[in-house]
């Protein structure tokens, strides 16, 4: 067999935490000594984390995959002929494109993830990058907004607000604001404060395909008349930070970003600002406060950020995934995107399988399949091998779904009907050893730790919630405490300023309702809390 010319080792936070960095170093030394003509490319991850570190070699048959490879296994793999594209080693997985877990996905947004060198503009363009932007530069703002409207794209951060309508609001918003030094400007803010438990799709975009996000933000700017964008990035993503900074510099140097982009006469500047470790700063108004250098506190709405956002000016605040979907939509047309999915849930959703799961990673699917299909067919059940007990979808504020609800279709409306949320697409699986009363308690505790402290129901309610659940668990006046918990949940839902306090009752109520045994209640006595 002929020597291969290119080896891929992912430079991705998950892969690196599993040894990819050590592998890349060993491999680099090996190549320098033995195969100087073979190129080592640090690609992004394909999101199949259960196979990371996933090594690929470029052959005439396409890219062949090996994984999961530990640094200790590398010498053996090399000896077995990795660089010749061996098919004999136990870690050999076949051609990457044939891996069913990947092949069965519908990758629109994540089509390039793991395929390209994230920082190579050439790679990006070879794989369809900047086609949408090229097109956008010749379109009117209204035409761009219309295209996004036609796509049916909804906010992927969790609130699922139609992106086109938000953009229309910002496009139509007057930016004249006497006295404000920023008067006349509009802003694009990318929410990259990915804080939901079990989520990593934003990170994957930024680490594996950063130009896609940049392209999406530029298009958003062209659509609403903004010439400046901020990526508000959580500080826990140092690699994403590094990649974004480098990508922005390169995009500017290549004339895709900055003044007079591609000779169009249009400008767009982009800046990364880091968060400081607060979950609440993923809430868009807190994010804006933090972005402006203030303490991250939830702002009352109205005014909507679309009208009075960053520095008091009209602002698009969209999640990474929302903006990342835009280049494809402009390239292929809104209708092409809307051809995926069902009902009012159109396009694809990158689900993130985590928790106690056998095959964790990113699964991009058109809306529609059931939760069960996702966790069983793709996820392969629990990693512990024990039966699944509950699934929490949509982050720490999502409901715990019992088996009876696993056939719910992955669709915003179907989930809402089940009292649950899709949120940012995080899916966390729990097996039957988990104490669901403790999980309910955890929901309140999470709120207690992460509340910004502005509104009373969230600030004090979460603390009392923990105490009340503790009393329920300790069977201290249990029935009365369950009633109190139910009322507290109502107070938090109706009284809280933002979704943090308003949605904390979701996991609590669902745990009480679906797993009454965990709270020591017989079905009849649990009626009050449900």
């Amino acid at each position: 067999m002929a020597e291969v010319h290119t080896v891929y080792v992912p430079r991705d936070t998950t892969a690196c935490s599993l040894g990819a960095e050590a592998i890349a170093q060993q491999l680099g030394r090996h190549l320098a000594m033995h195969s100087p003509d073979c190129r080592l490319v640090r690609n992004g991850s394909r999101g199949a984390f259960w196979l990371e570190p996933l090594l690929e070699v470029e052959t005439e048959q396409g890219r062949l995959a090996y994984g999961p490879v530990t640094p200790e296994q590398l010498p053996d793999l090399l000896a077995a002929g990795l660089l010749a594209g061996t098919t004999e080693h136990p870690l050999y997985l076949g051609p990457v494109d044939d891996i069913p877990w990947l092949r069965r996905q519908q990758r629109l947004t994540f089509a390039r993830a793991g395929v390209t060198d994230p920082l190579s503009i050439e790679d990006y363009r070879t794989h369809g990058g900047f086609v949408g932007l090229k097109k956008a530069l010749s379109m009117t703002p209204q035409a761009l907004v219309d295209e996004v409207k036609a796509s049916g794209l909804r906010g992927r951060g969790g609130a699922a607000f139609p992106a086109g309508i938000k953009w229309q609001t910002v496009l139509d918003a007057p930016a004249d604001n006497p006295g404000n030094p920023q008067s006349g400007r509009k802003f694009i803010v990318c929410n990259a404060d990915e804080g939901d438990s079990g989520t990593f799709a934003d990170r994957l975009v930024m680490e594996a395909d950063p130009y896609m996000l940049i392209e999406g933000m530029i298009i958003a700017g062209l659509a609403v008349g903004a010439d400046y964008g901020f990526i508000y990035l959580r500080s826990e993503y140092p690699l994403a930070h590094q990649v974004l900074q480098e990508a922005i510099t390169r995009a500017e140097q290549a004339g895709w970003l900055g003044a007079d982009m591609q000779g169009s006469g249009r400008d767009f500047q982009l800046e990364v600002r880091l968060g400081a470790g607060a979950y609440i700063c993923g809430e868009e108004t807190s994010l804006l406060d933090s972005l402006e250098g203030k303490r991250g506190m939830v702002r009352a709405k109205p005014p909507l950020p679309a009208l009075k956002g960053a520095f008091g000016q009209p602002t698009v605040v969209n999640n990474v995934l929302t903006l990342a979907a835009v280049p494809w939509i402009i390239d292929q047309g809104g209708q092409a995107y809307a051809n995926h999915g069902q009902g009012r849930s159109l396009g694809t959703m990158p689900f993130q399988l985590a928790g106690n799961i056998e095959r964790g990673g990113l699964v991009e699917l058109a809306f529609g399949p059931t939760l069960r299909e996702l966790v069983e067919d793709f996820g392969g059940g629990t990693r512990s091998g024990r039966p699944m007990q509950a699934i929490q979808v949509g982050g720490p504020l999502g409901a715990y779904l019992p088996a009876a609800q696993w056939d719910t279709s992955l669709d915003y409306e179907a989930f809402a009907e089940a009292g649950a949320v899709l949120g940012h697409g995080g899916v966390v699986v729990f097996d039957d050893t988990v104490d669901m009363a403790q999980q309910a308690r955890f929901a309140m505790e999470f709120c207690m730790v992460e509340s910004c402290g502005k509104c009373t129901p969230c600030r004090i309610g979460s603390v009392r919630g923990v105490e009340v659940i503790d009393r329920i668990i300790a069977d201290d006046n249990r029935a009365a405490q369950l009633d109190l918990l139910a009322e507290l949940c109502d107070t938090m839902e109706f009284g809280s300023l933002c979704a943090m306090g308003g949605m904390t009752p979701n996991p609590v109520r669902s745990a009480v309702e679906h797993f009454p045994d965990a709270f020591g209640v017989t079905p009849e006595s649990s009626a009050g809390a449900a």
């Binding site: 006295g179 404000n180 607060a278 506190m297 709405k301 969230c458 603390v463 009284g495």
Partner: protein, 962 residues
Amino acid sequence: MLNYFDPKTEHTGAGSAIDWTRDYGTPAVDSDVQVSLDIDGVAVTVPEGTSVLRAAALAGINIPKLCASDNLEAFGSCRLCAVQIDGRRGMPASCTTPVAEGMAVTTQNAALAKLRRNVMELYISDHPLDCLTCPANGDCELQDMAGAVGLREVRYGFSGENHLQAEKDHSNPYFSFDPSKCIVCSRCVRACEEVQGTFALTIDGRGFDSKVAAGQDEPFMDSECVSCGACVQACPTSTLMEKSIIDEGQPDHSVVTTCAYCGVGCSFEAEMKGDKLVRMTPWKGGDANHGHSCVKGRFAFGYATHKDRLREPMIRDSIDLPWRAVSWEEAIQFTADRIRDIQTRHGRDSVGGITSSRCTNEETYLVQKLVRAAFGNNNTDTCARVCHSPTGYGLKTTLGESAGTQTFDSVMKSDVIVVIGANPTDAHPVFASRLRKRLRQGASLIVADPRHIDLLKTPHMGEGIHLPLRPGTNVALINAMAHVVVSEGLEDEDFVSRRCDPEAYRQWREFILLEKNSPEHMETITGVPADSIRQAARLYGEAGNGAIYYGLGVTEHSQGSTMVIGIANLAMATGNIGREGVGVNPLRGQNNVQGSCDMGSFPHELPGYQHVGVPEVRARFSAAWGVDIDPEPGLRIPNMFDAAIDGSFKALYVQGEDIAQSDPNTQHVEQALTSLECLIVQDIFLNETAKFAHVLLPGSTFLEKNGTFTNAERRINRVRKVMAPVAGKEDWEVTQDLANALGYPMHYSHPSEIMDEIAQLAPTFTGVSYDKLERLGSIQWPCNEAHPDGTPTMHEDSFPIGLGRFGLTEFVETEERTNRRFPLLLTTGRILSQYNVGAQTRRTDNQVWHDEDVLELHPHDAEERGISAGDWVGITSRAGDTVLRARISERMQPGVIYTTFHHPGSGANVITTDNSDWATNCPEYKVTAVQVEKVTEPSSWQQRHQTFGRRQWQYLEQASDA
């Protein structure tokens, strides 16, 4: 019988039905668009942008609330003000929900009641249950709301996590911080930011750990807190509470009156228990302050009942003799006899009087009337001589009226704000807060000052330019700015051609374009880079609305009047006169500087700035007063001193001024005072001047009398009596008694009658009366037939002199120059916590911030002389020398040193010289050439002063003992 004003029953505020004792939840909104909605079945129409909470309050529907207050932007944290709106989901907070046309709002139903009760239950689960012993008992919004929502139990119990053990902070002398009572509504934090603009407070921690913290979580006194009281005012519980209330309990009644400190003229509610003042609360209905305050007006009122107050009249034949306490009758007769005797022996002109900028308009009017009608001469002057006399001269010459052109609120419409020789964050703090608010909204700031004043450090402001000029070079700077405006075509030609005298303008334009006035030429004189001056001039010249504010750093110079003219020239040339947002604004130092000038205190002007030399004017006054008016202007204060030393001026009646401390060249003043045969001092304390007196007439504080003050924006505000005068008489009564004893009859029974007389004689006051003041709250003069409700903005259509007159402003260097012997320039000023000569503030806990005057100098000058922080340094000028402790400060520029004169023993004015403004004799306090060196003991003057002072206090004590 005390005259109580009960704001609850009176109608205040110009033409509005706003009840200032109520809190409408969110601020009023200005909009031309009216929106109608339905709240609980009541049809309500309010300006667009108004919150549902405020709309309901205006309709008399009180939605429960805790974090909302109508002087703060809506915040939406307490969630008590939740409502339901037809067609909308959930229960939105009414404070953050703006009204919409046709909206139907429900403020009360079972679901809302339950939500509110449950939220309140959460609050109380982390709050002490000590209502009966709590200082806020009876004045606690949390308590009120718990009652309003019907909270009956706390099902969570009280064993959960809480803040009940949080440590108290008593560091501030006036208020305590008890975080165990805090409900984290952020009203204090927001008040510190939005109202005061200091940003000293923050919320530290998050979630349940959220707590109010001063500075970097340090005691209030160690933080940037300036003790303005806005946080205390905002607190709905007893977390931030006045120590006076903790000690005394809640007040039982209150009277609205006007602060007697600076020229801002804040309205306060004097809150009383019986005849004891327990709290001063800024009055929301006050048009000058809109419910804000500073550390002086809010807290420093304890002097009124200080043990040092003079409580009985006293006389003596010589200043080397002890005082003799006598009856009012005896003291008045003694005084009258002395004055008549001196006049008999030395002539009618050998006596005179000094009116006070701290007394009321009515009292000031009476003193000058006494001098003119009873003494029979024009030897009347006022302390405005030593502060803003150049303002009177300069503005009258150019614009035709001796007053600032704007309201304070005007600054909220300015785009570029120029501050020259003023330090508003210290000297006019409540106005500074509004200015800073405008700077935060994006207005640009230009500061011309030798020092880097705190205004330049305004948090969250936009563009700021500092022009750090050398003391004494104001005119060079303003000429250079005008040169840029004219040479770069930034003039408002339309305004100039319509509103200004063409010949005067042509001459000025020709003059200002001379190369010698260019920034490049002036750079060597002012020390300010030409580029900076050009940048500043362009900014101002191109501003939509450019406003100039200035203080004593403009007037107290040898060219003070020239500089005022230069400022007016610049404003006219750029068309920045005659509308909101622009103007020329003198910031007056004392509470009634404007009023004392208006009232005819100057020797050449009768009330209303009418010259004594004009026969028709004199004829009117003669007819009203029944005496002939001397046609010759009388002596100015410095002339009085010189004449006293010469022996031609023998008796002086000084009401409420401390010329021995506040006037320049103290040793010269002392020589003059000791030369007098009879010095009559009417004051609340034995001040420095009183130590040289032969008659002591106990004065009354602003709390003890009725009258009016006129602030820097020409606003006439009522001063209302809240307690009886400690010595039995209001100041105007004493002056009246003296007039009667001198044989000139005065028979006023109330200050309102004095105001009626003023209204008859001063054309700008014809429409002013106490009745109208009660009705409107306050009046900005001119108030006459043309402007029956007063005049907020002056010169809108024309100037009182018809066309505005440009004046030539040749820069002439002061004679007070540095040389080898005196290489440094001393400039003087004020600090926040002390007021003027300090007689009042030094007798309060404000002392903790500034218990001695210090000398600030640049590190370079200090190092050259081996001076370290805290060293005693001797300061020597051509006039004298004194000793102060050194403070090393980067606020100074090298070569310039600075001090204050709040403490008499400092002797700051021993150093200042007799140099003065060419037109008005306003002293050149701001420029004195000096040398400084390390020393080990006080100056000889300080030692003499101490010995003399100690003896005079003994004389006073002996009188009390007798």
